[in-house]
């Protein structure tokens, strides 16, 4: 009998060893500040597809609980509180307000839940890790290329800057980088900085007002081109929407390179921009999430993992690889 028991136990162990390992369930609470343009939609799509792909390779079964705060910081705090109460394994949040998200980070820490800020850093509290695009580098590469382009063409740039939301760290980083590069360039001067709060109406009216006040303006820096149609409308109203080579051309440096910007760049209306690489951000976020799921070091210097964008110009816009915003992709 004892021999039989031993034999059965050994057989059981052998069968268990040959079965595939059961993937570990890992629930991610994903808190969006808003789904107000194509970028969050793409991010979510890529996060889920990368979660399935990288997760399968690492034996981590990603499950998602997703909520959206409709650009309301208070609602986002309540949404994250809900995620904490549901006991998710990781919270990924794109902050509406860089300062207000700090309270949610602290609440998650107290509950023992790791917190990843995504795309927008907290200005008040350090999360477990931050993953996003390098928005300062984004502004810097664009500004440097723009200065070089204008210098090459013998143009002295007098620019209108359309800023993003003042509570968005990325918007502030882009503005800071723009000024750092251009203010002492001797080629580009910023005549006026207009806050838009990421509102297309303000992109339009801000451009109209700034052109009225500065009729000699000949260039623009857009903190994002997601609302390009509003800027285009304003420039058309002023008879200044014209491709490079036309005397009425307004030189435009932009950020993100959304689908409308791809078309405008291909048409010669936008001169330079730096992409915001949604796919690279999502890939990195999932890599870090898997490390956290395994309890390992995410290998992010100072808790920050940033993916750089790529410089887009009229010359290379048709050939940049994996550009999410180009229609063919």
């Amino acid at each position: 009998m004892r021999v039989l028991n031993k034999a059965l136990f050994a057989a059981g162990c052998m069968i268990a060893a040959t079965l595939p390992a059961h993937a570990k369930d890992f629930t991610v609470g994903l808190s969006w500040n808003a789904m107000d343009n194509q970028l969050p939609v793409k991010w979510q799509e890529y996060l889920q597809s990368e979660g399935a792909k990288q997760g399968a390779a690492a034996d981590v079964n990603f499950k998602w609980v997703i909520n959206v705060a409709d650009a309301d910081p208070t609602r986002q705090a309540a949404n994250i509180e809900d995620l904490i109460n549901q006991g998710v394994d990781l919270i990924i949040a794109r902050a509406e307000d860089a300062a207000a998200i700090g309270a949610s980070i602290r609440a998650a820490k107290e509950a023992g839940i790791p917190f990843m800020t995504f795309d927008r850093e907290s200005s008040t509290t350090k999360p477990t890790v931050h993953v996003g695009g390098d928005s300062f580098d984004q502004g810097k590469t664009t500004a440097e290329a723009f200065v070089a382009l204008l210098k090459d063409r013998g143009v002295t740039g007098k620019c209108i800057e359309l800023q993003g939301s003042l509570t968005d760290v990325n918007a502030m980083n882009r503005s800071k980088a723009w000024h750092e590069v251009t203010d002492n360039s001797g080629v580009v001067t910023t005549l006026v900085s207009v806050p838009t709060e990421w509102n297309p109406d303000l992109f339009r009216s801000g451009t109209v007002n700034a052109l009225r006040a500065n009729p000699d303006a000949n260039c623009m820096f857009l903190a994002s081109d997601f609302a390009l149609s509003a800027v285009q409308s304003a420039l058309e109203g002023a008879d200044r929407w014209a491709p490079r080579g036309d005397a009425k051309h307004v030189w435009i440096a932009t950020q993100d390179v959304f689908p409308e910007a791809v078309t405008a760049m291909q048409g010669g209306f936008i001169d330079v921009g730096t992409t915001y690489d949604a796919y690279a951000h999502a890939q990195e976020a999932i890599r870090v999430a898997i490390e956290l799921a395994k309890g390992e070091d995410a290998n992010c210097p100072d808790g920050v993992c940033l993916a750089k964008g790529r410089l887009a110009t009229q010359e290379n816009i048709g050939t940049l690889e994996n550009l999410w915003s180009r229609p063919a992709n």
Binding site: D36, V192, R204, A213, S229
Partner: protein
């Protein structure tokens, strides 16, 4: 002597306080910038504020009846969404698509009217609910992404007759129509009566429920017209369309001298001047290249001043002061909070 001076200043502020503020804003920006007081800039301001003016007209009719409609931004968003989807996905001609938008705006206004009048729910709560729900539907329909308009429609945003943009003319027609409706018709006078006291209005035979219902329908209709104008100006629909418009419209109405307590004020020139005040601030600060954080501070201060003037007009402050003075007199009984803050 000092009493006389303070009284005359108080009267001046009550009667013309808003105009004094408007002239002061104009003077400051004219002196501080080179291009503020120009014909071209004035037209640009009228162009930018046209959608706000139209939406505020609808809000004004509701406020005059002593109610509030904070769903107008969402109504504008959802009704405009229908037009964009019909044009982009189904090739519907723009005229038909915009007719659907207007019908949708009126229908959504009717929904608000039904909830307020039919179900007896507080207008603030009712329209808060529809504000959230309608925006949710629109976000679902648009997948929350920015959708550009067809090129032929987008170009209408800059359509002009001579130097005047067409949407300024549209806004002018809507404002005049709304003002005439308010001043010259039985409906308008009944709205005032309802705003001054619903129970009394009902007692003298005014069909309060029906009039309030129609006010909400018109508010929805005007919201959809404003939505179309905003849509065409920007050249695309995005989740930002109409966002915060309800509060802008309330601010415009109050700054324009229409009492938030109902029953008092005029659409023309009140709404136009109210919208012009905010547009002048935005335009002037833009031209001055002011600190971006200054915009909200200045706008908030203007709203506060307007509310204070409104409160003074309503006699609330005077009433409170008088009653406090009476209370403080030796041998007098103490007034309650309810007494001192109740509407005269």
């Amino acid at each position: 002597m000092r009493d006389n001076q303070s009284t005359s200043f108080g009267q001046l502020a009550r009667r013309h306080g808003f105009l004094i503020v408007l002239v002061a804003i104009f003077a400051v920006f004219t002196l501080a910038t080179d291009h503020f007081a120009t014909f071209g800039n004035f037209i640009a301001m009228l162009h930018a504020m046209a959608p706000v003016v139209v939406m505020s007209c609808g809000m004004a009719l509701v406020v005059l009846a002593g109610k509030l409609d904070i769903s107008i931004g969402s109504v504008a968003f959802l009704s405009s969404t229908f037009a964009v989807l019909l044009m982009n996905n189904h090739g519907v001609p723009p005229v038909v698509a915009f007719a659907v938008t207007l019908a949708a705006g009126a229908a959504l206004g009717a929904l608000n009217g039904f909830i307020v009048v039919g179900l007896g729910i507080n207008p603030l709560i009712a329209t808060l609910g529809t504000m959230i729900a309608l925006r949710g539907v629109a976000l679902q329909l648009t997948n929350a992404v920015l959708i550009p308009l067809p090129e032929s429609v987008r170009s209408l945003g800059n359509l002009s007759i001579g130097p005047i943009f067409v949407d300024i003319l549209v806004a002018a027609v809507v404002v005049i129509a709304a003002d005439q409706l308010h001043r010259r018709t039985v409906f308008g006078r009944q709205l005032n009566a309802i705003g001054n006291g619903e129970e009394v209005a009902a007692k003298i035979g005014i069909p309060v429920g029906r009039r309030v219902f129609v006010a909400f329908v018109l508010s929805g209709l005007f919201a959809s017209i404003g939505g179309i104008m905003s849509l065409i100006q920007v050249g695309s629909i995005s989740a930002y369309l109409g966002r915060g418009m309800e509060f802008t419209a309330v601010a415009v109405v109050v700054v324009g001298g229409i009492s938030l307590f109902g029953g008092r004020g005029t659409i023309l020139p009140g709404v136009v001047l109210g919208a012009l005040t905010f547009e002048m601030i935005a335009n002037g600060l833009n031209q001055m290249s002011a600190n971006p954080y200054a915009y909200r501070l200045v706008t908030g201060a203007i709203i506060f001043v307007a509310m204070y003037v409104d409160a003074m007009k309503s006699g609330r402050i005077r009433s409170r002061r008088k009653k406090l003075a009476v209370r403080d007199e030796p041998g007098r009984s103490t007034g309650t909070i309810a007494e001192t803050t109740s509407r005269p």
